[in-house]
Amino acid sequence: MVSDSVRHAARLITQIENGVPAARAVLAELLPHCGSAQLVGITGPPGAGKSTLTASLIKELRSQGRSVGVIAVDPSSPFSMGALLGDRDRMLEAASGDPGVFIRSLASRGVPGGLAAAVNDVVDVMDAMGKDVVIVETVGVGQGELEIAKIAHTVVLVFVPGYGDALQAMKAGITEIADVVAVNKGDLAEASRAVQELRGQDYVRHDPTADRTWVVPVQKVSALRNEGIAELVGLIDDHYRFTAQSAWRSEIERNRRHAQFMAFVTERLRAELASIDLDAFDAGWLRDPYAAAEEFVTEIVKARADRGAVGLAAK
């Protein structure tokens, strides 16, 4: 599994998507083989060219001899639950016949939080496969945008000229999670102005573990003409190295593991709670749901604290 069994990896990813409990055991076995992949998130408004840019990144990374895993997320229809996953089409040329590239399309299936959990697990699969870089491309709308910040070492925000002025960028609220900004469609005349305007915003990220800041670079790229791509990869690597100069990198990784823990506990507890006998209502216990919930949680926390378990402080 760890080396190159693409078929097994692909099937495991399906199990993760479907929430098959058996996948957890396999993931736990993979864990010792995880931790060497560089995780890059690609986000931005729909139509910004995220997939096309990802294709360019694949080509550049491959030319440097680095293997690549790609997780491309597209939205599911809230009505039919069906999905049209079109990202792969744009990446085909960059990946054709190359065993060093593994692309997997995922449908969002309507649960941003739940999807983030699945994506985290899929990242582990690709990491264990030995991919040097794992790229996660988000849906491009809604909450998934912010979830990516909890997964990736470096978040690349893709903008396009004409998306709006700088005010619009601030309003979108997603510049807060960007480590690197790429202004795509750099072949358009307005691109230089957009770059200037975004640079003028002086976006910075504060290192949560040390007294220093990362100045968010703004790079003009043209995925179409393959311009600025090598520079963009350079900036992504710069940021990756920057986070390693303090505890920032391990903070990111800790947050990711914490998110996985939360997702797993939530999922397990939800199943347990769903099986609570509703006769408890007639017995009076559930008639006060507030008190019942408080008692339920307190009991778990107290039981753990009493036996000196790590991780929770007794109240």
Binding site: R7, A10, A83, L84, R104, A107
Partner: protein, 135 residues
């Protein structure tokens, strides 16, 4: 066999500019609740590589400018070589009826002619997914 999330790879030849049929079908399958990976291929191995990485239940190939026999001759062994021996493989588009039988002998499970009522492909997939084998 019924499956909660049916994943379909819909492939169309890159040099084939006739895309309306595939796109219409992609939309139809999406509306039937399926997850459709749509892409244009240059060589048959690209379909097989995509099918294994995406772990799809169904591979659909659209053919408008002939070559269906050659495609099937390459595709079925390529899928089997990658361990995908229970994937449902269908073809559609401008395929002469005289080719249906040879295509079925090569391992294609079903060919669809243009002009079928909406929902016909989705219904076939839902009824046959998971039960097909590639001999």
């Amino acid at each position: 066999m019924s499956k909660e999330h049916i994943k379909v790879l819909l492939a169309k030849k890159k040099i084939d500019v006739h895309g309306r049929g595939t796109k219409l079908l992609a939309r139809e399958l999406r509306d039937a609740g399926m997850e459709v990976v749509y892409f244009r291929f240059g060589v048959v191995d690209e379909i097989a590589d995509a099918a294994v990485q995406e772990d799809v239940d169904v591979v659909g190939v659209s053919v408008m400018t002939s070559g269906q026999i050659q495609i099937a001759r390459g595709l079925i062994p390529a899928l089997k070589a990658r361990g995908l021996d229970n994937v449902l493989v269908i073809m559609g588009g401008i395929i002469p009826e005289v080719d249906y039988e040879p295509l079925y002998e090569l391992g294609i499970h079903r060919c669809f002619a243009p002009g079928l009522p909406g929902g016909a492909v989705a219904e076939y997939i839902r009824e046959n997914v998971g039960t097909a084998t590639l001999g």
